[in-house]
C-alpha cells in the first residue's frame, strides 16, 4: 500500500468507528485544507452519502471566498450542512478589535456550544493534526476532553491541554481526530493526488498566500510564490523543514534555560 493510502485507510477506519460508536455525530468543516480533506475522506467512508450533518461555525468574519466555496461544494456534494452562528453576539457587535480571546470565545466557542446543545451531538469529528513540533508521541484519536481549536486561528498545532485534567465547561461530547497522524505536507500531497477542491486563498497572489484559514481579521499572509497545489507541495518539501528546525532549536534552548533558571539555585 502506498504511504498516503495507509494514512487514508487509518482515517476512514476512525471515521467509521466514530459513527458506529456514537451515531449522533457531526463533522466540523472550517472550509480549510485539513477539514476539506477530512470531508473528502468522510465521503469516501460512506460512499458519497454522509449519514450525519456537516457543521460550519460561522463567525461572520470569514474571508468572503470561504463562504462562496462552502456553498458551492455543500450543494455539489449534497451535504446536510448546519451553519452555526452566535447571532446574539454578532448583533451585540463582538469583534476581534475588542479582543481576540473574547471574539473567539463568543463567536466560536459559544456558537459551537449552542449547536451541540441544540442538536445533542454525542461526538464531533475534527480535522486537527499533530505533525509540527514532533508531538506525535501523545496522539489520541478519541478524546473526551480535547476542546482545542487553536489550529484554526493560529497556524500552530493544537495544545496538549487534553492531557490535563479537564477544565472544560462542557464535557458532554467526545472529540474525534481522524487526521491526527497526518502532516501538513501529507495533506497537500493527498490534496494533489485526489484532486480535492481547495479554496484558492491557499495559493499565492502577488507573492503572498494564506497558510491557514480563519477569520479575516486574524489571518495573516505568508511570503510565497506557490500558486497551485503542486507548487505548495514543492515549497513545503524544500523550505519548511530546514527553516523550522532551526527556529525550534533556539526556542527549545530558551525554554530549557527558563525552566532551569526557575529552580532558583543561581
Amino acid at each position: 500500500m502506498d504511504y498516503l493510502d495507509k494514512l487514508e485507510s487509518r482515517t476512514i477506519f476512525i471515521i467509521r468507528e466514530a459513527y458506529h460508536e456514537f451515531k449522533n455525530i457531526a463533522m466540523l468543516w472550517s472550509i480549510g485544507k485539513d477539514s476539506t480533506s477530512l470531508l473528502w475522506m468522510v465521503r469516501k467512508a460512506f460512499f458519497g452519502k454522509i449519514p450525519f450533518p456537516i457543521m460550519h461555525i460561522d463567525t461572520s468574519y470569514k474571508i468572503p471566498e470561504i463562504y462562496s466555496f462552502r456553498d458551492k461544494y455543500a450543494k455539489e456534494w449534497g451535504l446536510n450542512l448546519i451553519i452555526s452562528r452566535n447571532e446574539e453576539a454578532i448583533k451585540n457587535g463582538v469583534s476581534p478589535d475588542k479582543g481576540r480571546f473574547e471574539c473567539c470565545n463568543a463567536l466560536k466557542t459559544e456558537a459551537l456550544k449552542q449547536a451541540i446543545k441544540k442538536y445533542k451531538f454525542k461526538a464531533l469529528l475534527l480535522g486537527i493534526r499533530r505533525d509540527e513540533h514532533g508531538i506525535r508521541a501523545k496522539e489520541r484519536y478519541f478524546s473526551p476532553r480535547n476542546q482545542d481549536f487553536l489550529w484554526d486561528y493560529k497556524n500552530q498545532p493544537p495544545e496538549l491541554w487534553d492531557q490535563f485534567k479537564s477544565g472544560s465547561d462542557d464535557n458532554s461530547h467526545i472529540r474525534v481526530h481522524p487526521l491526527l497522524h497526518w502532516t501538513e505536507l501529507d495533506i497537500w500531497k493527498y490534496v494533489q493526488r485526489e484532486n480535492i477542491p481547495i479554496t484558492n486563498l491557499y495559493f499565492a497572489k502577488n507573492g503572498k498566500r494564506y497558510r491557514s484559514l480563519g477569520c479575516l481579521p486574524c489571518c495573516s499572509l505568508i511570503e510565497s510564490n506557490a500558486s497551485n497545489v503542486k507548487e505548495v507541495v514543492e515549497e513545503l518539501k524544500t523550505t519548511r523543514i530546514a527553516e523550522r528546525s532551526g527556529r525550534a532549536q533556539d526556542k527549545e534552548r530558551a525554554y530549557m534555560m527558563q525552566k532551569l533558571r526557575s529552580l532558583g539555585y543561581m
Binding site: G134, I135, L150, Q163, F164, S262, Y265
Partner: protein, 642 residues
C-alpha cells in the same frame, strides 16, 4: 539458747532470702525494663507525628538553644533526644527528602540531583518536575524507591503527608497527600514573576513588562500556560490607577491593591483552546503609582479550587483545604528567591511573601493536626531553607568572624518554630511518637566553582572553534563531544563521555576507571587560586557511595565541596566561566550542596533513640517500627528504637 540461736539464724536466713529475692526481683525488673525498651517504645505509641523543617541547621539550633531562645526544643531534647542527622551526597532537598522517605541510598531511589541529563543527546531536565515526554503536560514521579507512606498505606494505616519535597505528582496514599517542592507553576516551571512598570528599563525583558498609563488606565497582559510552540497564552488585564492605589481588573473582577501592599489572590482563567480553560491564581505587590508605575506579579500558580493538574491526593483535597483555610500557594517553592536575587523585589517584599506563606502553612498544619487521631502525619515546613539561602550570615572563606553570626530573620524563623513546637507538646497525647528533623544544614556560599571549566583546563573537555568567552555556553553549547572525555552537570556530578552510553561517547569501558581516578586525584588536589585553600573535601566514585539498581543513572563522580564553595550555576547547567572559581556576588549567599560531612541536619524525638549518630536513612525504618510494620529488607537504614 541453742534454739534461740537457731531461730535467730533462721530469721537471718529468712532476712537474707528476702533481700536476695528482692534483689532478684529488681534485677529481673531491670533486665525486663532494659531489654524491653524497644517493645515499650513500640507499644507505648500508636501514632507517628513528623514535623519536617527543611534546612534546620544544628549550628544555629545549638547556638539558639544555648542562648535560651528555643525553650521547647530544649524541652524536647530533655524528654527524648536531640542529635545531628547525617545527610546524603549531594545534600540537596529532593535527594535528601527522598532518602528520608525511602530509607534507602539514592542508588535505590534513583533521584541524584535537581538537574538530570538525557545521555543520548546531553539535554538537561529538572528532576522534581518530570514531564512524561517532551511536550507532555502530564508528569511522573522521579522517585523509583518505595517511600514509607506507601508502606503504611498498604498496611491500611491512616497516612497524611503534607508538602514533602519531590513528591509531585502525589502518591496514592491511604489518606491524603499534598505535594511539596516540584509542583510547577502554570507554565510547568519552578518559579516565575513579572514586573509591570512604566519606568525606562533595559533589564530582563522576559520578566519586565513595559506599561503606559493613559487616563489613569493601564492595558496590559498576563502570561499563562505555554503552547507547544513554547509561547505563553496571554490574557488581557486592566489596571486602574489612583494616587496611592490601583485596581487590577481581570475577567471583570476587581482586585484592589495599595502602594506598599499586597493584593488578595487574583484569579486568572486562561483560554487554552476551544471551550477549555486553565485556572490560575497569583498575588500582586504595588511598589508605586507615581511618578512611575511599578508592580510585582508573583508566580502564576495552579488554582487549588480548579487544579489543572492534581497536586494533592485525592484531587479534591486541594478544594477541601481551600474551603478550610482559603486560597493558598500551590507552587512547590512559592518564596520568590529569584525575584529577590535579581533585585526585582526588596527584602521587605520577599519577607512579606514568606510571612504569608508561613501563615497559610501554619493554618494547614493546625487543620491537619486537629484531626490527627490515628496513624501517621508528616508535615514539612520549608521557608527556613529559602530564608537561609538569602540571609545566611556565617562566612567560611573571607571576612570570617568569631562565633556564628545569625541573621535576625533567620533567628525569628527558628523562634517561631519553637513556639509552634510548644503548642504541639502541650497538645499531643502520650501515644504520639514525635520526630522533628531537617534534611540538611547550611553553610556559606562565597565562591562558585565551574567544574566544566576545570575539565577544559585539565584536558578532559574540548571546546569547539566557535567558542566565545562572552557566552556562558550553557547546555554544552561549545562542547566538542568527539574530543571530550568527561562533562559536568547538576550541582555535584561528573559524567564520563562513555561510548555506547552517551550519545557521542568516546571513552572505552576499559579506560574509564583510569580517567575517573585521574579526575578524582586532580580534583582533590585542586586549590582555589585566590586563597590557596582546598576546594573539594572529597570526590567520590559512585560505587563508593551508592548501591542499588539505579546507580547506573548516577554521575560517575560525585563532588563534595568544602564549606564556602558550591558548583557555579553556569557549570550546573552545562556552561563555563572565564575562571574556574569566581566570587559569588549574589544575594543568594548561603547553600548546602557541599560535602555532607559539613552540613548535617538535626533530629529531635520525644523518645530515647539507640544511636547518637543517626542518618537520614534511619527515619523510615523507625517510623515503620513504631507503627509495628515489618521493615523491608531493602531499606538501608536502621530503626532508632531497636
Amino acid at each position: 539458747m541453742e534454739t534461740n540461736n537457731k531461730i535467730k539464724k533462721r530469721k537471718l536466713n529468712l532476712k537474707k532470702l528476702t533481700i536476695f529475692i528482692i534483689i532478684c526481683i529488681i534485677i529481673v525488673c531491670f533486665v525486663i525494663f532494659f531489654s524491653g525498651e524497644e517493645k515499650m517504645v513500640k507499644s507505648r505509641y500508636d501514632k507517628v507525628f513528623i514535623i519536617g523543617i527543611d534546612a534546620m541547621d544544628p549550628k544555629v539550633t545549638n547556638k539558639l538553644i544555648n542562648e535560651g531562645m528555643l525553650p521547647n526544643f530544649l524541652r524536647l531534647k530533655e524528654i527524648g533526644s536531640f542529635s545531628k542527622l547525617n545527610t546524603i551526597l549531594p545534600a540537596e532537598s529532593p535527594v535528601a527528602w527522598t532518602t528520608i522517605a525511602t530509607g534507602t541510598n539514592p542508588g535505590k531511589h534513583g533521584l541524584f540531583d535537581f538537574i538530570t541529563r538525557n545521555p543520548e543527546n546531553y539535554l538537561l531536565g529538572v528532576s522534581i518536575t518530570k514531564q512524561k515526554s517532551r511536550y507532555s503536560t502530564k508528569f511522573e514521579s522521579p522517585v523509583k524507591g518505595i517511600p514509607f507512606w506507601s508502606i503504611t498505606s498498604d498496611a491500611k494505616i491512616p497516612t497524611t503527608i503534607i508538602r514533602w519535597p519531590a513528591t509531585f505528582p502525589p502518591d496514592k496514599v491511604n489518606g491524603v497527600m499534598f505535594s511539596g517542592e516540584g509542583v510547577p507553576d502554570i507554565r510547568g516551571f519552578s518559579s516565575g514573576y513579572y514586573i509591570y512598570t512604566s519606568e525606562y528599563f533595559n533589564k530582563d525583558e522576559e520578566k519586565t513588562i513595559k506599561v503606559s498609563v493613559n487616563d489613569k488606565i493601564i492595558n496590559s497582559r498576563v502570561f499563562g500556560p505555554l503552547g507547544t510552540d513554547r509561547n505563553p497564552i496571554e490574557k488581557p488585564i486592566q489596571i486602574k490607577v489612583d494616587k496611592d492605589k490601583a485596581i487590577i481588573i481581570v475577567d471583570d473582577k476587581e482586585y484592589p491593591v495599595k502602594v506598599g501592599g499586597w493584593s488578595d489572590w487574583i484569579r486568572i482563567d486562561f483560554k487554552v483552546g476551544f471551550m477549555k480553560k486553565v485556572s490560575a491564581i497569583t498575588k500582586a505587590y504595588l511598589f508605586s503609582v507615581e511618578p512611575e508605575f511599578k508592580m510585582y506579579l508573583g508566580p502564576i500558580q495552579i488554582d487549588p479550587e480548579n487544579p489543572v493538574v492534581d497536586f494533592t491526593y485525592p484531587g479534591k483535597y486541594s478544594n477541601e483545604l481551600a474551603d478550610a483555610i482559603g486560597l493558598y500557594n500551590t507552587l512547590g517553592m512559592p518564596e520568590d528567591t529569584n525575584a529577590l536575587n535579581e533585585n526585582a523585589i526588596t527584602d521587605k517584599v520577599f519577607l512579606g511573601q514568606v510571612a504569608q506563606i508561613e501563615d497559610e502553612r501554619n493554618k494547614m498544619f493546625w487543620y491537619e493536626f486537629n484531626r490527627f487521631d490515628k496513624g501517621l502525619l508528616a508535615f514539612v515546613f520549608d521557608s527556613g531553607d529559602r530564608l537561609q539561602h538569602m540571609y545566611w550570615d556565617e562566612k567560611n572563606l573571607f571576612n570570617v568572624k568569631e562565633g556564628l553570626s545569625v541573621n535576625k530573620d533567620v533567628v525569628d524563623y527558628y523562634v517561631k518554630k519553637d513556639n509552634l513546637l510548644g503548642e504541639v507538646l502541650n497538645k499531643i497525647d502520650n501515644k504520639t511518637a514525635l520526630m522533628i528533623f531537617s534534611d540538611h544544614g547550611f553553610t556559606s556560599f562565597e565562591r562558585a566553582v565551574s567544574i566544566n571549566t576545570w575539565l577544559v583546563e585539565n584536558g578532559f573537555m574540548t571546546l569547539t572553534n566557535d567558542y566565545n568567552e562572552n557566552d556562558d555556553g550553557a547546555l554544552f553549547k561549545f562542547v566538542d563531544w568527539s574530543k571530550t572525555k568527561a562533562y559536568s552537570l547538576g550541582f555535584a556530578g561528573i559524567y564520563i563521555n562513555l561510548k555506547e552510553r552517551e550519545g557521542q561517547g568516546i571513552v572505552e569501558e576499559a579506560e574509564k576507571e583510569e580517567i575517573i581516578n585521574g579526575i578524582i586525584k586532580k580534583l582533590e588536589d585542586f586549590r582555589d587560586p585566590k586563597n590557596n585553600q582546598k576546594v573539594i573535601t572529597h570526590a567520590y566514585k559512585r560505587e563508593e557511595i551508592y548501591h542499588g539498581d539505579y546507580v547506573k543513572d548516577s554521575p560517575d563522580i560525585v563532588i563534595g565541596f568544602e564549606p564556602g564553595y558550591r558548583m557555579s550555576w553556569q557549570s550546573a547547567i552545562g556552561g563555563l566561566t572565564q575562571e574556574i572559581v569566581i566570587d559569588n556576588l549574589k544575594k543568594w549567599k548561603g547553600d548546602h550542596i557541599v560535602d555532607p560531612s559539613h552540613v548535617p541536619g538535626v533530629l529531635f524525638t520525644n523518645f530515647k533513640t539507640n544511636n547518637e549518630n543517626p542518618s537520614l536513612l534511619d527515619i523510615a525504618p523507625t517510623v515503620l517500627e513504631i507503627l509495628k510494620i515489618k521493615i523491608p529488607k531493602d531499606i538501608d537504614g536502621r530503626s532508632l528504637i531497636s
